[in-house]
């Protein structure tokens, strides 16, 4: 089974916008993967004129909120950095080895939410030209309004990106478990783009080639080992192996 990966467009957000943006994106993805019986909830964002849908599962909502809190805490310690949140869906498979059984996660889909958290620009009160001085607060307000509108458009584009992906790729989705609302999933908060971890669905084994490997140490030269195409990723997005 393929592990499909969707890299969502990067969004430039300010700190106070993180929660709403992440809620919107993560819940939209989860709603499309909560294929058990759901009673959808419409949620209107406060900062944007966008309505997204939650699947209505309390545990999932709690899980998402916890991860968003984690991410926000990390952002506060690492300001002005690009970051990525990974939402992965997996199946538990029981692997039979000669001497033991092992439950292993088989990832079949990964979503990467790319955020660039910025801080608002400070406005200088000095005017260096002969033009009449513009009230910096007014200019800032207008700039913020323009930026907010642009972010709303971008966020809507990301939501459409999710919908298109869900529509175009359906074959890899496992059969529905009527006892569960949603497929098992995990949300990973990476530390920074320099430490992004990639997961693949292959069993763990180490192959060292050109110094690149995924976090499970899986890479087969000449063959795309997991859903990610390593060659297209910039080097700083992959973690170098430690030692040999």
């Amino acid at each position: 089974m393929n592990c499909e990966v969707c890299q969502l467009r990067e969004l430039e957000v300010e700190h106070f916008e993180i929660r709403e943006v992440l809620r919107c994106i993560l819940h939209t993805i989860v709603f499309h993967r909560a294929l058990g019986l759901v009673r959808p909830k419409d949620i209107d964002l406060e900062l944007f004129n966008i309505t997204y849908v939650q699947c209505g599962d309390v545990e999932l909502e709690k899980k998402i909120e916890e991860k968003i809190d984690e991410f926000i805490s990390w952002v506060e310690k690492h300001p002005n950095k690009k970051s990525q949140i990974c939402l992965s869906f997996y199946e538990m498979k029981n692997k039979h080895y000669s001497w033991f059984n092992k439950n292993e996660r088989l990832y079949w889909e990964q979503w990467f939410v790319n955020l660039h958290v910025t801080h608002p620009k400070a406005h200088s009160g000095k005017s260096h030209n002969s033009k009449p001085m513009v009230d910096p607060e007014e200019t800032g307000y207008e700039d913020r309004g323009v930026r907010r509108e642009a972010l709303e458009v971008s966020l809507r584009d990301v939501l459409f990106q999710i919908i298109k992906f869900v529509n175009e790729k359906k074959d890899h989705v496992p059969p529905i478990n009527e006892k569960a609302i949603c497929f098992p999933c995990e949300i990973t908060i990476p530390r920074s783009t320099a430490e992004l971890t990639l997961y693949c669905h292959y069993p763990v084994h180490r192959i060292l080639l050109l110094g690149w490997m995924c976090s499970r140490g899986c890479y087969r030269p000449g063959i795309q080992p997991c859903s990610a195409d390593y060659n297209s990723w910039p080097p700083e997005l992959l973690r170098r192996p430690l030692g040999g």
């Binding site: 499309h32 294929l35 009673r39 959808p40 966008i50 209505g56 359906k170």
Partner: protein
């Protein structure tokens, strides 16, 4: 033990039921997010978080649980769907129509240099309660269809067909999820939200029309709309298809008319030294801001002409075209229209035939749940 042949017949019947249910469910999703005051979205807080979505007994409203999407049963969405119950090969066309009041003093026979500026169709046939008619514009057209294909030999056996059924239902569920999310992202949803969420009276509303025939838009108008096509869901005998043509932006602009008021200085604004502290603000010339709380209200304003209000003209970017006549209008929400100085040019079109629809029919909850895949 049931014979493979019987199993195949049962699964074939279940497949047909899924296809049949596709139409009312899709229509319900569209209808609930486009028909004001008919939404299952309960602003009084019905949507309680529940760890057990199947506990519908705690719900105020009975719910239709087809495609694992528990929505409040909406009789209006199931009205007059006999055609699709009898034959799901008929396409279902759902037009979402923006309906607004005509401007005061507007004369249909006025000639304008171009019809492109005025996209609205003039419905001169409706005269209800003293209304002079309504201006209508199709802002969305949803097309739902089951395209059949040549009968295939199912000689591979019932097991393969059973897998196909499970997969078909799973993909149909995914399609419904996407539809549910998409209707909330399209521009018309903002109008719906605005109409539903506040008690303010608007000069416009949303209506919808369901038909089985597709009256094409003029090429120019269709070219200006955007299309979104959901990936079809294949079954053994055909595929479910769903697409939407929509106006990409619904901008409200100030009317370009001779009755537009010139800006005037207001000396006695509240807080002005010239104003008495408790003086009521009653300038004869008032420029009011947006009537809408939505983003496209930023670029418009209404101008009062001696107490008369001018509703915004509906300008669709890129430049709109006039609306072609189509079938009947269903379920227009009542609203009061304010007078306007908008001088749209509308083509000389045959009157709209109004279809009377009642919403008494209830749709039974599904008793079909495909068994999980083996």
């Amino acid at each position: 033990m049931a014979s493979p042949h019987n199993n195949t017949n049962t699964e074939s019947a279940e497949m047909e039921q899924i296809i049949t249910e596709f139409f009312p469910k899709s229509l319900q999703i569209i209808h609930e997010s486009r028909s004001p005051f008919m939404s299952s979205r309960d602003y009084s807080g019905e949507q309680m978080v529940s760890s057990s979505p199947s506990s519908s007994s705690s719900s105020v409203w009975p719910r239709d649980e087809w495609f694992n999407l528990a929505l409040r049963e909406c009789p209006a969405a199931h009205e007059n769907l006999d055609l699709w119950h009898q034959s799901y090969f008929e396409p279902m066309i759902v037009d979402v129509i923006l309906v607004a009041a005509p401007p005061v003093g507007w004369e249909p026979e006025r000639d304008f240099s171009t019809s492109d500026q005025y996209p609205f169709h003039w419905n001169s046939d409706q005269e209800e309660s003293g209304s002079e008619g309504k201006i209508e514009k199709i802002v969305e057209r949803w097309v739902l269809q089951y395209e059949g294909r040549k009968a295939r030999d199912s000689g591979a056996g019932s097991r393969r067909f059973s897998n196909t059924l499970q997969t078909f239902y799973k993909k149909s569920i995914l399609l419904m999820r996407s539809l549910y999310a998409t209707v909330r992202l399209l521009p018309a949803y903002k109008i719906f939200r605005d109409l539903n969420s506040s008690g303010r009276i608007r000069s416009y509303t949303l209506s919808h029309k369901v038909s089985s025939f597709l009256e094409p838009f003029p090429c120019k108008e269709e070219a200006e709309m955007q299309r979104f096509e959901f990936t079809p869901v294949d079954s053994s005998c055909g595929r479910l298809c769903l697409s939407v043509l929509y106006c990409s932006s619904l901008l409200f602009v100030s009317p370009e008319s001779s009755t537009r008021m010139f800006p005037q200085y207001i000396d006695d604004y509240v807080g002005s030294p010239l104003a008495e502290p408790l003086k009521r603000f009653s300038s004869p010339t008032v420029v009011q801001g947006s009537l809408l709380s939505s983003p496209f209200s930023r670029r418009h304003g209404w101008v009062y002409d001696h107490g008369k209000a001018s509703p915004p003209s509906f300008s669709f970017s890129p430049s709109p075209n006039h609306l072609e006549k189509h079938g009947s209008i269903s379920n227009p929400s009542s609203c009061r229209f304010q007078p306007s100085s908008l001088p749209p040019h509308l083509p000389d079109l045959p009157p709209v035939h109004k279809k009377n629809m009642s919403f008494d029919e209830c749709y039974p909850s599904p008793n079909f749940t495909p068994s999980p895949s083996p």
